[in-house]
């Protein structure tokens, strides 16, 4: 998990919160450090989620902005779930700037407080999909059998449900397929659907577009 927050105290709070949940937070106060880390890690090890403070006025380095970091996330870590929090979330201009920097970013209103942000992230990471749920951000549990699947690609597919996820290596693609086989062995209502070009998504049988409204993203 990547955290980008210019306030040192708040960054530490976020880091402790997510570390306690089993994540490995990569915490940065400035955008250029975060960008450097993203590029060093490469596409195969991109973070599962990024939480980005839109206003980085307190950052020790100002050569890059939150917008820059979002652009890099959109291009180099496109399957990373991104939440941007801003005190100006009502402004269409801010929304437009965020959308342009990262078209898939989720927006969170900073005025609702840090606890609200963390609760929202927890909901996004832990939301159940059919008979599956993610535990500690690290593995997928098939609830009826309590069996566990420890592939990070499986976690990514569940967390990103119902969106398409692109895997960037043969081993990741194989892991996604193995997860599909694991689901079939467990007679799960969820299946792995291939969209070609290393792109997969999790589908739930009997889940029509209309029915999806019963499962809103937090």
């Amino acid at each position: 998990m990547l955290l980008l927050e210019d306030d040192a105290e708040k960054l530490d709070e976020l880091r402790r919160h997510f570390a306690a949940q089993g994540f490995h937070p990569l915490a940065f106060r400035s955008a250029n450090r975060a960008i450097g880390a993203l590029r060093d890690r490469g596409p195969a090890t991109q973070p599962l989620m990024a939480i980005v403070d839109w206003d980085l006025r307190l950052a020790p380095e100002q050569s890059s902005s939150s917008s820059d970091a979002l652009c890099v996330l959109a291009r180099d870590a496109s399957d990373c779930l991104v939440i941007v929090y801003s005190a100006n979330a009502d402004s269409f201009r801010v929304r437009s700037e965020i959308n342009r920097a990262h078209p898939r970013a989720w927006l969170h209103d900073k005025r609702e407080g840090d606890a609200s942000l963390m609760q929202r992230v927890d909901r996004m990471l832990n939301h159940p999909v059919a008979d599956l749920r993610v535990e500690d951000g690290n593995f997928v549990v098939h609830v009826p059998s309590q069996d566990q699947c420890h592939h990070r690609e499986a976690v990514r597919l569940v967390v990103r449900h119902p969106e398409i996820v692109t895997f960037h290596s043969d081993s990741a693609t194989r892991a996604a397929r193995r997860f599909g086989e694991w689901l079939a062995r467990h007679d799960s209502a969820a299946t792995v659907v291939s969209h070609g070009n290393r792109r997969y998504r999790l589908a739930v049988s009997g889940m029509t577009p209309a029915a999806r409204s019963d499962f809103p993203r937090p």
Partner: protein
Amino acid sequence: MVPNAAGELHPLSSRPHRLGRDDPGTGGGNAGQRRGRGRGSGAVKAGILTLGALAPERDRSLVVLSRDGELAVGLRERLERDRVLVKDARPHEAGAALTSCRPWPWMLVGDLAELPASVGPALARYPVLVLWLGPAPRGLPAHSRDFSRYAELADAASRALEGEVGGVRLATGAGVELPDGRLARSASLEALVSAHPAGFDLPLRCFGSAVRALSGTEVSLRPRRDPVTRWVSLG
């Protein structure tokens, strides 16, 4: 047009010499790069970073061309985000925004009084749904639709996403779901399903991947050219 390995017609992205070159401000060979916008400085200003909205995208994409982004913000909040990705672009980014969609954009929406030079040629080659807020500018294809109110346009975009013809409907993210549950990766079939019962003022050969996707299925519909209007639709 030659089908590529994915079974689609020649993708827009293979024609960067057309899309981008005519766009003032995209920096010649640096089409798609962002300069001096937003709160950023450094890399984005220097044109080293690509704006996320102009990054390559294989999911179903809706490109919005406007001067201020308000239209894109509204559509992004209205449409289901797992069904379509909204790309918010300015007029000078039109070419880069279109070429970033692989194989081509599912839909183009705009409110500009004048069409950027790079848009017309692309729309003349590929089945892209076109919705316009306000009077349609010169250069848009005959199958484009214009609306006087935003709410009507947003409703039309939403209906296009939820369209179903003979049990064929848009799949989550990209492609179409066939009645037997199989997924077909055909952008031209997506376009035909979304436009149904209307169609496209384009040659029938633009719909080769739709024909291939439907052949061998229980679906009796095929892309057909109306002898009178000469538009292609599912029939």
